[in-house]
Homo-oligomer: 190 residues x 2
């Protein structure tokens, strides 16, 4: 998606350790019009697919996911990072490693809001190693639901998570795919 790639080139900040900061429009200050436009593009990509639920993980994925839910005309469920180690029996739960924060979170969704009738589009702002996406996919599978695919804003393709999931048969659509990053340049997949 040209508009997103341009924003990344113009406003993204490269940090040591393979970190791309896009706090100016995606992760801290959010350009809501861009979030809406990304949702419309995902709707175009998934045209013809039956989708009745959007699933994301708190916190920074919620804005884009809420716009997607609005555009797709279905509810959004966001998985929560659990504050307790005691997981109740009324939630689906999974362990997810965070590449950015270097820790592991228990991520939960209430069983009330994710079930076998759900045809789910998973939305997230970033895809790198794929840990979050695999975790959300596992939640849908625990619930007996169907993962129709994923809609990602920025995929760091060089970290391999996206292609690993595609090889395993999952549809993954990323609106900007970064082939490589150095300390002062970004190349997109063409």
């Amino acid at each position: 998606m040209e508009a997103l790639e341009q924003r990344i080139l113009n406003e993204g900040e490269l940090r040591p350790g393979g970190i791309l900061k896009v706090d100016g429009f995606l992760n801290h200050r959010i350009d809501a019009q861009l979030s809406y436009d990304m949702a419309v593009e995902l709707k175009r990509l998934y045209e013809g697919e039956e989708i009745n639920k959007i699933l994301t993980i708190e916190a920074s994925g919620i804005a884009m996911a809420c716009m997607a839910a609005y555009v797709f005309g279905c509810p959004l469920v966001f998985a929560k990072k659990s504050k307790t180690k005691n997981i109740s029996s009324d939630v689906w739960s999974v362990e997810v490693e965070s590449f950015t924060h270097g820790n592991t979170n228990t991520v939960v969704v209430s069983k009330e809001y994710l079930g076998p009738e759900d045809k789910v589009l998973i939305i997230d702002d970033f895809l790198a190693t794929g840990a979050a996406l695999k975790g959300l996919k596992a939640l849908v599978e625990q619930a007996g639901g169907t993962v129709v695919g994923a809609g990602i804003a920025i995929e760091k393709a060089f970290q391999g998570g996206g292609d690993e999931l595609r090889s395993a048969g999952m549809r993954v659509e990323s609106l900007a795919r970064i082939a490589s990053m150095t300390d002062d340049s970004i190349e997109f997949v063409r």
Copy 2:
């Protein structure tokens, strides 16, 4: 706002200790169309006011706030709950007590995204004691910005936070105001 009050009456769950669970449409599963409609109602209420930034706090306020940013045509900034006790000098920060979770969080916003030029509408899903709203107001004031007002989905008016802030001169618009709650009934402010 009639549609919101109806959803609260039909789907809200009352729990001991003055907890109203609206996980079915506001806090875990989100009705994005309702989020959009609430944003449109806030736009109507604040018609004629100059607003150039929406501010909220992660996580469950983000959906409604992103819709508000879209409808108002301005960026959304969400304050983050800090994971570390060492607060860097490039953020505004404040301590906020959580009524729901019974703990205190350090809440931060990057100085880059909140400054003296900002005319801010603060959005949140709940207003009870007003702790979160006071914290967000304090962040705007640290930045030298102006709080135009607040837009809240559900105010538990009987907990007094909203009226305390109104008495102090702040404009607070709540789309549903609960006058009283028992274990099996809810009365709205009329």
